[in-house]
C-alpha cells in the first residue's frame, strides 16, 4: 500500500528523497512535472509497506518547502510498547549472562522460565494497552490500541506454542496437558459466559447453560463440567440416573500425568478400557432421551462430527485439534502432531475460508519447522522485536545451529542486528541497542561503531553516557570524534573551559591548541584574561599541548607581576621567549611585556638576560623584514 504524504502535490512538483539509518527524508523540489508518465520516484513511494508519516520539519515557506520525515518503525514510539522493549532487554541480558554449566533438565527448566518471563511481559503490555483502549476518547486511537492488543495476543499465542513445542519440548503425555493449558488460556473467552450463568437464579434453566457445559468438556475441564451438571441434576429428578452415569464417566477419565506415577502404556491401557465403557453406555441408549448429554458422551468418545458441531464455541481450528487429541489420542507423540494439525485445519475450515497468516505460522510450529515460523513472523509483523528475541531463545536451546545464512552471520545475529539498529533511531531506547550489539559476536562491534557516532548529542549527560560506552569498549576513534563535536559546540557557545575539558578527555592536543589560541586572541583584544579560574588551575593537563602550556605559564607571569615578584616574573618571561613555544604573533606582545620590567628603577634583568632579550628582538625584526622582502 502506498502512503500519501499530506502537503505534497506530486502533480505540481517532483519529490526528492534521501535515506537515513531508519528513516527517509522527503522534500518537494522546485522542479515541476516534466509531463512524463509517473517516474521512478512515485514508484519508490509505493514500495513502502509499513511506513508511517512521522512528522515534518517546517522550513520557512519563502525559502524552501517542508521536509518530511518518513519513519519505518512507528512501534518504538508507542508509550506502552516501550515498557515491552525495556523489560525484554533485561530478560535478554539475563539469558545471555546465565550460566551454561547447567545441563539437561535444569537447563531446560531455566530456559522455560526465561520464556515464561518474556510471555508475562507481553501479557502485562497487553493489559496496559487494553486499559488504554478502554479509556481512550478518540475512536481512531481506540482502534489503534485494540489492533495492537490483538497483534500482541497473537504474538503471545505463537510464543506460547513455540515454548511448548521447542523450548519445553514436551514429550507424549505432558504434551497434551501443555496444549490444553494453551488452549484454555488463549482461545475463547469462557469466563464471562460462566459468570453469567452461575450468577443467574436458576443456572440450569439459563439459555447458555449447555454451552458452558459443552465448552468445559471441550476444554477438558471435567470437574467444572461435573459441578455444573450437578445443578441440572438437582433441578430435574428424572435425569438423575443419566447424570450419575455421565458424572461417573467424567470422573474416571484417565489423563496423562506430569509426574512419573504411570507410564504411557499403562495410561493407554486404562484409557482404552474407559473408552470402551463410554461406548457401551452410548450404544445402550442411556442418554437417548437427552440430546445434550448424548452429544457430550459422543464428544467424550472423540466423535469428530459431534465435536465439529460445537464449532462456534471452539472458534478456532487449533482448539478443535486439541479437543480431538484429548478424546481420541491423549498420548499423541510430538512428531505425530503435524498430521492431526493439518487434518484438523482442513476439517474445521471445511473449504469455506483459507488459512490466515496466523494459521500458517501455527501450522509451521506444529510441523516443527522453526525456520518457517520465524520467516513467516518476520513478514507479517512490523517490528523485529518478536522474531529477534524468539530466535535468540531458540538459539540458546541449541535448536538453530545448523542454519547459516550465506552472507556470513547466522540468523540469530542477523535478526538481533536488525532489531537493535531500529532502536538506535530512538532518542532513549538506543541504550538498549548497545547491549544487543554486544552480544552479536561477528558484526555487532562494527554496527555499534557506526551507529554510536550518529546519535544526536543534545545534552552533555547524553554525550557522557555515549563516551562511557565507547571507552568501555576501547572505541578510541569514536571517543575522539565525539569529544571533538562536544568541544566545538562548547567553543561556539564561548564556553572555553568546557571545550578544554572535552579536549583533555580525548587527549586531543590539536584542539587544545585551538582553544589556547582563542584564549590568547581574547587577551590581545581585551587586554585581560577571561576565565581566570580555569587557566589558573590547569594542573598537569597543561602539558597536553605546547600552546596550552604557554598559556598557563603566561598567565603565571602576569600573576607574578601582579604580586610584584619581578625577578621571578622576568625569569619566567625570558624562559617563555627562549623556549619558542609562543606563537609568532605573540612575540611582540612578550617583548612589550618586558618593557615595564626594563623601565623599573631596580635592575631586574641581569646582563645575560638583557642580551637574550636583545637576541629575541633581533630575531623578531629579522623575521619581519624577511616577510617584507618576500612580499
Amino acid at each position: 500500500p502506498s502512503q500519501v504524504i499530506p502537503g505534497t502535490d506530486p502533480s505540481a512538483a517532483q519529490l526528492c528523497f534521501a535515506w537515513g539509518p531508519a528513516e527517509m527524508l522527503l522534500c518537494q523540489t522546485r522542479f515541476g512535472r516534466t509531463g512524463q508518465a509517473p517516474g521512478p520516484i512515485s514508484q519508490v513511494l509505493s514500495w513502502f509497506l509499513c511506513w508511517g508519516f512521522a512528522g515534518s520539519k517546517e522550513v520557512p515557506p519563502e525559502r524552501s518547502p517542508s521536509i518530511f520525515v518518513l519513519r519505518k518503525d512507528q512501534d518504538i514510539y508507542s508509550q506502552t510498547l516501550r515498557k515491552l522493549f525495556n523489560e525484554s532487554h533485561g530478560i535478554f541480558l539475563g539469558l545471555q549472562r546465565c550460566e551454561e554449566e547447567l545441563a539437561g533438565k535444569s537447563r531446560r527448566a531455566q530456559l522455560v522460565q526465561v520464556s515464561k518471563n518474556y510471555r508475562s511481559v507481553m501479557r502485562a503490555c497487553m493489559e496496559d494497552l487494553h486499559q488504554a483502549a478502554i479509556s481512550a476518547r478518540d475512536p481512531a486511537l481506540q482502534s489503534q490500541y485494540s489492533t495492537q492488543v490483538s497483534i500482541l495476543s497473537a504474538m503471545e499465542l505463537i510464543w506460547n506454542l513455540c515454548e511448548i513445542m521447542f523450548v519445553e519440548a514436551a514429550a507424549a503425555g505432558p504434551l497434551l496437558l501443555h496444549l490444553l493449558d494453551w488452549v484454555r488460556l488463549h482461545v475463547c473467552d469462557v469466563d464471562s459466559m460462566v459468570r453469567e450463568v452461575l450468577s443467574s437464579e436458576n443456572p440450569s434453566k439459563h439459555e447458555l447453560f449447555w454451552n458452558v457445559v459443552d465448552i468445559f468438556v471441550l476444554q477438558g475441564r471435567l470437574d467444572e463440567a461435573r459441578h455444573l451438571l450437578s445443578k441440572e441434576a438437582s433441578a430435574d429428578p428424572t435425569s438423575v440416573n443419566m447424570y450419575k452415569v455421565l458424572d461417573d464417566l467424567m470422573k474416571k477419565m484417565p489423563v496423562p500425568s506430569l509426574s512419573n506415577t504411570q507410564t504411557l502404556t499403562e495410561m493407554e491401557l486404562k484409557w482404552q478400557h474407559w473408552h470402551e465403557e463410554c461406548q457401551r453406555y452410548l450404544q445402550n441408549g442411556t442418554f437417548a432421551s437427552n440430546s445434550h448429554m448424548e452429544s457430550i458422551c459422543k464428544i467424550l468418545l472423540g466423535d469428530e462430527d459431534a465435536i465439529l458441531e460445537k464449532k462456534e464455541l471452539m472458534t478456532t481450528w487449533y482448539h478443535f485439534l486439541v479437543t480431538r487429541l484429548l478424546y481420541s489420542c491423549p498420548t499423541v507423540k510430538p512428531m505425530e502432531l503435524r498430521f492431526y494439525a493439518q487434518s484438523s485445519m482442513d476439517l474445521f475450515l471445511g473449504g469455506e475460508s483459507s488459512p490466515e497468516p496466523l494459521d500458517t505460522i501455527l501450522m509451521a510450529a506444529f510441523e516443527f519447522e522453526m525456520h518457517r515460523v520465524i520467516k513467516e513472523c518476520s513478514i507479517v509483523l512490523s517490528n523485529w522485536w518478536f522474531v529477534a528475541h524468539l530466535t535468540d531463545l531458540l538459539d540458546h536451546c541449541k535448536l538453530l545451529q545448523s542454519h547459516n545464512l550465506y552472507f556470513g552471520s547466522n540468523m540469530r545475529e542477523f535478526l538481533l542486528l536488525e532489531y537493535a539498529s531500529g532502536l538506535f533511531s530512538h532518542h532513549s531506547l538506543w541504550q538498549l541497542g548497545v547491549d544487543y550489539f554486544d552480544h552479536c559476536p561477528k558484526y555487532g562491534r562494527v554496527y555499534l561503531e557506526l551507529h554510536i557516532e550518529r546519535i544526536p548529542l543534545n545534552t552533555e549527560q547524553k554525550a557522557l553516557k555515549v563516551l562511557r560506552i565507547c571507552e568501555q569498549r576501547q572505541m578510541h576513534e569514536q571517543v575522539r570524534s565525539i569529544c571533538k563535536i562536544m568541544a566545538m559546540k562548547a567553543l561556539r557557545n564561548n564556553r572555553l573551559g568546557s571545550a578544554l575539558s572535552w579536549s583533555i578527555r580525548a587527549k586531543d592536543a590539536a584542539f587544545a591548541t585551538v582553544i589556547s589560541d582563542r584564549f590568547l586572541k581574547d587577551y590581545c583584544e581585551r587586554g585581560c584574561f577571561s576565565d581566570l579560574d580555569l587557566i589558573d588551575n590547569l594542573g598537569p593537563s597543561m602539558l597536553l599541548s605546547d600552546r596550552l602550556t604557554f598559556l598557563g605559564k603566561y598567565r603565571e607571569f602576569h600573576r607574578l607581576y601582579g604580586e610584584k615578584r619581578f625577578p621571578e616574573a622576568a625569569k619566567l618571561l625570558l624562559m617563555l621567549m627562549k623556549a619558542r613555544i609562543a606563537p609568532c604573533s605573540f612575540w611582540m606582545t612578550l617583548l612589550t611585556d618586558a618593557l615595564p620590567l626594563l623601565e623599573q628603577k631596580e635592575v631586574i634583568f641581569s646582563t645575560e638576560q638583557t642580551y637574550e632579550l636583545m637576541q629575541c628582538l633581533e630575531d623578531v625584526t629579522a623575521g619581519k623584514s624577511e616577510k617584507l622582502k618576500s612580499q
Binding site: 516501550r82 515498557k83 525495556n86 532487554h89 533485561g90 541480558l93 539475563g94 532513549s428 541504550q431 538498549l432 547491549d435 552533555e460 557522557l464 553516557k465 562511557r468 568501555q472 562548547a490 564556553r495 572555553l496 573551559g497 568546557s498 578544554l500 575539558s501 583533555i504 577571561s530 576565565d531 579560574d533 580555569l534 588551575n537 590547569l538 594542573g539 598537569p540 593537563s541
Partner: protein, 208 residues
C-alpha cells in the same frame, strides 16, 4: 551569568546565604550571595587530573562536611573549614557517579548512584552491640555516656582518613544491574531511584 567557564554540574545550598557548585574541571566552589562579586569566595580542587565532579551534597547537621562524586566514580568527602583538598577519597563506582545524597534524618547513611548501574548505601553508623560494656552498666549516667561516645565517633566517621578503621558498611542495593541509575532520593525509610531502562523503583523499607 558567566559564573564558570566550564559546565556546572550540580548546585546546592550550603547555608542560607552560601551555595556550593561543582563543575567539569573538578572544582568545588563556594559562592557567597551576600557579597556582590562575580567570583566564588573559595575554590577547592584536587591537584592532579582535573576529573569532572558531577554531584554534591552537604551533611544535614554538620555543614562543613560536603560529599562530591566524580566522573571516575570516586566519592570525595571535604571539610570546607580547612584546606583546599578533600579529606578522604573513596574509590567507589566504575563509572560516573551521578548523584550523592546524605540521608536527611540519618546522616550516617549516604547513598550514591552511578552510570555503572549500581546504587550504593554507605553506612557509617557504629554498631551499638559492639560496645556491650557500656550498655550493660545500668543507670542513666551510662546511657548518657554511651550516647556521647557514639556521637563523637559519628562526627569523625565521615572525616576520618581511614575508612577501614571505623567500620563502614557499603552495600549495593541493586541485585542485577544493567543500565545506569541516573538519579535517586531518600526520605525516611523510602528510597526512590530511576534508571536508564525507563523504570522508577521505590524501596519503602530501607532500614528493615
Amino acid at each position: 551569568d558567566n559564573a564558570d567557564s566550564s559546565t556546572l554540574h550540580a548546585v546546592t545550598f550550603l547555608r542560607t546565604s552560601e551555595i556550593l557548585t561543582v563543575n567539569s574541571i573538578g572544582q568545588l566552589k563556594i559562592w557567597d550571595l551576600r557579597q556582590q562579586r562575580n567570583e566564588p569566595s573559595q575554590i577547592f580542587s584536587l591537584t592532579g587530573d582535573r576529573v569532572p565532579l558531577h554531584c554534591v551534597d552537604r551533611h544535614p547537621n554538620q555543614q562543613h562536611i560536603v560529599a562530591t562524586g566524580g566522573q571516575d566514580g570516586m566519592l570525595s568527602i571535604w571539610d570546607i573549614r580547612q584546606g583546599t583538598m578533600p579529606v578522604s577519597l573513596l574509590n567507589a563506582h566504575e563509572a560516573e557517579m551521578w548523584e550523592v545524597h546524605f540521608h536527611p534524618s540519618n546522616p550516617d547513611h549516604l547513598f550514591t548512584c552511578s552510570e555503572d548501574g549500581s546504587l550504593w548505601h554507605w553506612d557509617t553508623s557504629t554498631d551499638v552491640s559492639e560496645k556491650p560494656s557500656f550498655l550493660h552498666q545500668g543507670g542513666r549516667s551510662t546511657t548518657y555516656f554511651s550516647h556521647n561516645t557514639i556521637n563523637q565517633s559519628v562526627i569523625s566517621a565521615w572525616l576520618s582518613n581511614d575508612p577501614t578503621k571505623d567500620r563502614m558498611e557499603i552495600t549495593n542495593l541493586i541485585p542485577n544491574q544493567t543500565l545506569s541509575v541516573n538519579s535517586l532520593d531518600v526520605l525516611g525509610p523510602c528510597l526512590v531511584y530511576g534508571t536508564d531502562a525507563e523504570a522508577i523503583y521505590v524501596n519503602r523499607q530501607l532500614f528493615a
